[in-house]
């Protein structure tokens, strides 16, 4: 029960807000502190923004994850965009191919506990990130 992952299509700036709100709701339901809710919402915001800015469209999936001894939230950000040529570089602070601060991906990584980025040129990008309940 209540493990139903929710999937938010990301196509426009407005969708970012929806994804963020869904994340906040889920985090509140699982008992995350208000600070962690905000950190999570900010991470979702960064990942969703990257989808809009670089891939045009994609989706954010939010679900509850459980491992022995801990519970948390998993964010999966998927797109079928151009992909990232140099993943390591993209995760470096201050690097941006767009006109941004270049903190989106590295920032999102710092906001979350686990962070995995897989990308293939011409195929798309998937970011899987987790935050555990403290």
């Amino acid at each position: 029960m209540a493990h139903q992952p929710s999937s938010v299509p990301i196509e426009r700036e407005l969708d970012i807000v929806t994804a963020r709100q869904k994340g906040r709701e889920l985090a509140a339901r699982l008992g995350f502190s208000s600070t962690d809710q905000t950190l999570l919402a900010t991470a979702i915001s960064e990942l969703a923004r990257n989808i809009v800015a670089y891939a045009g469209s994609g989706r954010i999936e939010l679900s509850q994850v459980e491992e022995p001894g801990r519970r948390g939230i998993e964010i999966v950000a998927l797109d079928a965009g151009p992909g990232i040529a140099d993943v390591e570089l993209a995760l470096k602070d201050g690097y941006s191919t767009g006109n941004s601060l270049g903190v989106g991906l590295p920032g999102a990584r710092r906001l979350m506990d686990d962070f995995e980025l897989r990308s293939k040129l011409g195929v798309g990008t998937t970011v899987t990130a987790k935050k555990w309940l403290r």
């Binding site: 963020r20 600070t35 905000t38 923004r49 601060l101 710092r110």
Partner: protein, 320 residues
């Protein structure tokens, strides 16, 4: 410089993005092909001869419906609508479904919209007209049943192409009101308030997207100029999430204000937002931040040389 105001239809076409390419695409969607044009060409004369009758079938049907009264009640509009409908029927069988054809359909759509004709009523009447057209084809075209059916289907493709345009135009016009209201709400949601001479307050509440950020910056800069403001207190208590993009917007707004000669004090940054900004690695140390709104206003007053004095304890504080 403004160019000469184009006709409302040209304007609508531009807004809706209807050009040669999009009209071609619409034709492809309904599947109008060379074969269809041939079939329609074969019954062109028959349809043109019956254009008046078919036009009447459309308007008589409308007149018989309560919802159709909007159109049939206004004589001038009705006459124009009849004229356009008749032209429509003749154009439907000419085989040229280009930009000019689309323009004529939109003209009719605008007219329907002006009198508030319900879409379902329009669709019912148009279907009724097509039924009559089918009857005429079957009885008078001299085509074999299968050929007659195929010809009717070709004509129907054109009809659906038309419906697509008309429905899109009517919906677009109705949504215009929503768009206007949205922009009005946006305008209202970014007030810039003068609280003292040369001192402004800019409360930001809710979600800051790119469009709103631009509006905030614009109205702030305008207010700084109009009020010759020196200090601005920007309160972001009501912003729940600040990601790198929003932070960037805020920094740019503050920088632009500074260029206009006003310094900005940012207040109301919550502990949660502060932590996420630090985690994101965004350097906001260049911003002058003060804990809460009251503190921000006090600092702004100090910097302008104001001194607020309480002359005596007010009655309310003395408990009288």
């Amino acid at each position: 410089m403004h160019s000469v105001d184009p006709s409302p239809i040209q304007h609508l076409m531009r807004e809706m993005g209807i050009d040669e390419a999009s009209v071609e695409y619409r034709k492809r969607i309904v599947g109008i092909e060379a074969r269809d044009l041939e079939r329609i060409g074969a019954v062109r004369e028959l349809v043109v001869q019956n254009a008046e009758r078919l036009t009447s079938s459309f308007f008589d049907y409308l007149a018989g419906l309560e919802e159709g009264r909007a159109l049939s009640g206004d004589r001038v509009v009705l006459a124009r609508a009849r004229e356009l409908k008749r032209e429509h029927l003749v154009a439907m069988v000419q085989g040229n479904y280009g930009l000019e054809y689309a323009r004529q359909r939109l003209e009719l759509a605008l007219l329907y919209n002006r009198v508030g004709l319900d879409l379902r009523v329009f669709l019912a009447a148009f279907h009724h007209l097509l039924e009559r057209a089918g009857e005429i084809l079957t009885r008078h075209s001299g085509l074999a049943p299968l050929e007659g059916f195929e010809t009717f289907m070709s004509l129907k493709k054109v009809a659906f192409f038309d419906i697509g345009l008309i429905v899109d135009a009517i919906v677009f016009e109705r949504e215009r009101l929503i768009r206007q209201q949205q922009s009005a709400i946006r305008e209202l949601s970014t007030p810039v308030l003068q609280i003292r001479d040369r001192m402004l307050l800019l409360p930001i509440i809710g979600v800051i997207d790119t469009a709103r950020a631009r509006l905030v910056t614009e109205s702030l800069l305008r207010a700084i100029r109009d009020n010759r403001a020196k200090v601005v207190v920007m309160d972001i208590t009501g912003v729940a999430t600040i990601d790198s993009r929003v932070a960037n917007h805020l920094i740019q707004t503050v920088t632009a204000a500074r260029l206009m000669g006003a310094s900005v004090i940012v207040t109301g940054l919550s502990a949660e937002v502060a932590q996420s900004l630090v985690a994101l690695g965004i350097d906001l140390t260049k911003l002058n931040t003060v804990g809460d709104l009251q503190g921000g206003i006090e600092e702004a007053e100090r910097s302008l040389g104001y001194q607020v004095l309480q002359r005596e304890r007010p009655a309310i504080a003395r408990g009288e």
